[in-house]
């Protein structure tokens, strides 16, 4: 039984604390993040596909005293796969890259992504990619227990972490956050005092 994406996001962000900074991918994970409750320490993406993990890296390097969670989808991660290699070289201890993997492009009509056939070895396994990129802790989250474990590790983040969360291919109603990029940038910086 795969996880439901909105509940998974809510579990990961429960009692998130002021030191957790979150960057979603564009599309479904952005709506999931907004649905979990607006927060000035979220930097919602409405574009820049393939860029979420690298935004997270620049942020994590600039703010070593805070935790950074990139929570994106399989399609967005696949477009910027090289970022996993770049992150594997840098390995900031305060960065978690979490992929909600449902094997489809939900925003555009559920077309299969490269990860679609992973279970029968005809698709891309993002966990193996991340491990091959030198990210030491790579978690395969497939159930509630695994999700609770990931949430705990995110709370006490002390090493670069990659997680694939197996979610069901469903599209809950969109929850749209602020979309003015300048507003999102300014409120984020103000919230963390830079």
């Amino acid at each position: 039984m795969k996880l439901e994406r909105r509940a998974a996001m809510a579990t990961l962000l429960a009692d998130r604390g002021d030191d957790l900074l979150v960057v979603p991918g564009l599309g479904s994970t952005c709506w999931d993040l907004a649905a979990a409750g607006d927060n000035d320490r979220n930097f919602y993406l409405w574009g820049a596909m393939g860029g979420a993990a690298m935004i997270g890296l620049g942020l994590a390097l600039a703010q070593p005293g805070k935790r950074v969670a990139v929570i994106t989808g399989d399609g967005e991660m696949l477009m910027g796969l090289g970022a996993l290699g770049t992150i594997g070289i840098q390995r900031p201890a305060n960065l978690a890259v979490i992929v909600f993997d449902n094997g489809v492009y939900g925003e555009t009509g559920m077309q299969p992504s490269h990860t679609h056939g992973r279970a029968d070895r005809t698709g891309v396994d993002l966990l193996k990619v991340a491990a091959g990129c030198g990210i030491d802790l790579c978690l395969d989250v497939a159930d509630e227990a695994g999700l609770a474990d990931l949430a705990g590790r995110l709370k006490g983040l002390n090493g670069t972490l990659f997680a694939r969360v197996a979610i069901e291919a469903a599209e809950p109603p969109r929850v749209l956050p602020e979309r003015d990029g300048v507003v999102l940038k300014q409120r984020f910086r103000a919230a963390i005092g830079v």
């Binding site: 620049g58 994590a60 390097l61 910027g80």
Partner: protein
């Protein structure tokens, strides 16, 4: 010593590094290019600068955005061909007015041996204009530092995109036979 010789002796990569230091650049993303080699070495040797080698230049646009969100200044080094890899990601900088400082070594424009460098090299300036980037071009060693200072002001003073183009005659011909 002639005046020309003095100009040629200016160590412009060192001047760029010193400009980075004065500007407080803390993250430098790059896809290596021979023309940037000395500047990359200087940044790698500096414990106050995080050097981030990239798989593709567009990663650097996102890196710089993240750095700014976290209160740090970044710079992005690339060759002219790399600009083409950045185009959609530049919408991140434009939509959010992220400061983005790009230093671009030019290929395909001066005694270029490799014709495959020409298609992208020839459209660097129009592409940057379309992306509303401010363009500075250094052709001689003594122009580099002053133009770099102006680019820094444009980028961090106005939260804009600026590119300093380092002309191929500045860098010299690539040696193909050794």
């Amino acid at each position: 010593m002639s005046g020309q010789a003095v100009v040629q002796d200016i160590d412009w990569p060192e001047r760029l590094y010193q400009t980075f230091k004065r500007a407080g650049i803390r993250q430098v993303g790059y896809v290596p290019d021979a023309g940037h080699a000395k500047l990359i070495d200087r940044c790698r040797a500096d414990p106050e600068i995080r050097d981030v080698v990239l798989t593709t230049e567009e990663e650097g646009v996102a890196l710089a955005a993240g750095a700014w969100l976290g209160g740090e200044r970044a710079a992005l080094l690339m060759q002219s061909s790399g600009l083409g890899n950045c185009i959609n990601m530049l919408s991140l900088a434009r939509s959010c007015r992220f400061p983005l400082l790009m230093l671009i070594t030019m290929r395909g424009e001066w005694e270029e041996f490799n014709p495959w460098q020409e298609p992208m090299g020839s459209i660097v300036e129009p592409v940057l204009k379309l992306c509303e980037a401010e363009i500075y071009r250094a052709r001689k060693p003594d122009e580099v530092e002053g133009l770099a200072e102006r680019a820094v002001q444009t980028v961090f003073g106005g939260e804009r995109i600026a590119a300093l183009l380092l002309s191929q005659e500045l860098i010299g011909k690539k040696v193909w036979t050794k």
